[in-house]
Symmetry: C2
Amino acid sequence: MECDRKDAKKLLEQQNAKIRERMSKIKHKIAILSGKGGVGKSTVTANLAVGLSLLNKKVGVLDGDIHGPNIPKILGANGEPMVAGDAILPIEVSGIKTISISYLLPDEATPVIWRGPRVSGAIRQFLADVAWGELDYLLIDTPPGTGDVQLTIMQSIPNIDGAIIVTTPDEISLLDVKKSISMCKMLNIPIIGIIENMSGFVCPYCNKEIDIFGKGAGEKIAKELGLRFLGRIPLDAKAREAQEKGKPMVLIDCRAGEAFKEIVNKIVEIVENK
Amino acid sequence: MECDRKDAKKLLEQQNAKIRERMSKIKHKIAILSGKGGVGKSTVTANLAVGLSLLNKKVGVLDGDIHGPNIPKILGANGEPMVAGDAILPIEVSGIKTISISYLLPDEATPVIWRGPRVSGAIRQFLADVAWGELDYLLIDTPPGTGDVQLTIMQSIPNIDGAIIVTTPDEISLLDVKKSISMCKMLNIPIIGIIENMSGFVCPYCNKEIDIFGKGAGEKIAKELGLRFLGRIPLDAKAREAQEKGKPMVLIDCRAGEAFKEIVNKIVEIVENK
């Protein structure tokens, strides 16, 4: 048993060394977090990636949601990653390098019925083995919660720039979002700022604005906790429809697209002028 | 080591015996599932519980979302559960017995930064130690995904009646929902039916119906996979607002409330006439 434990420790250290090597070639590493599901973490991650790429940044996206991997669908990416030696080659779409467990599944309906340790193992393998090469930005999408994946990402990536927190404008969402913010503080992960998604909706018939999920809670919590507010993304039925067809809304002439562009500029300013 | 392992096995068997004993007093045990977060699992769970209670059923709700426990807020419940011997007494609100990790946290912002095995341990403790007494229904709310919690619930509860699957009407949500359905099939858990939440929205100014998240995907997937469609819950800004104040929408005179009542009747018919 003693011997097994020594071997395990050695393997872990070897993997850590590989992660350090891979991550040292990436200038900025940002996790997209939210305690709550369905607030649009994957939508935000994908659109920030495309927005950064429009500014000629070299961008990678690691889909850290093993149970609900949606990044490929939102970016319109598919294929099977090639393996060369001990390196996994990411799938490229419009110049953005991506990795997701969904590339490795036989079809969309196949669930990944894994307990925590295997999920963490997959994330660590993505960090150690994916050949990103040199990147300006690696965005890491995460599942809801404050458990295995979030811990593994925060503890495994050296020199992570910080986290972007996504929330919807309603009070119940804020409950869970506060937990993510506390987690970052406990683990000394800087918070780059808060994005409020699904904020306000304009009726396409009468043009009146309706607050379906409320409004302003993201800005309120940012003020309360002394955090930066990066901006709000309006709910936009047309933008969502386009996105379902694999066209990220930042590429479409719409209010949500404009909002994303402004947020991307802010992030670049914050992260690159540290 | 060998000795430790034997002890662990014995403890596990003792806990299983306690779970069997507690669950034998509960007529119907239903898990609320959805691969995706933010589709309204907790909202659906809470409103089904209140709806069943309106039919004079004795109802309990187990909040299985350890990282994002929202059941108490939606039901307007709070307090600290009393412990009597090795039994935890559930917190009662309007006649519904509830347990949630949130009752055990010092405040709303405190995150539960636990890896999978501890999360599963908490769920098993809720199943073994909460003194529900005799119930007609135990509804089990779950977090997003197909991992630890879902596995623990499906493997630990004897004679579970089945799962209710919640989805929103958009295609990306369906991606993850299909994974939950596949998981149930692999583990031989019957699917009671599918509920489509956030389905259609009526503009409060011009009264036109707008499909913010699309419409009909829940019914489509039910047909495709030969599953029962239980109904759709419309998006309703007023109902959501009331709910944020701790008043479940099934108690309010609104379209969402009516929809919940119809769905509750269907569930009773299906489950009690098996």
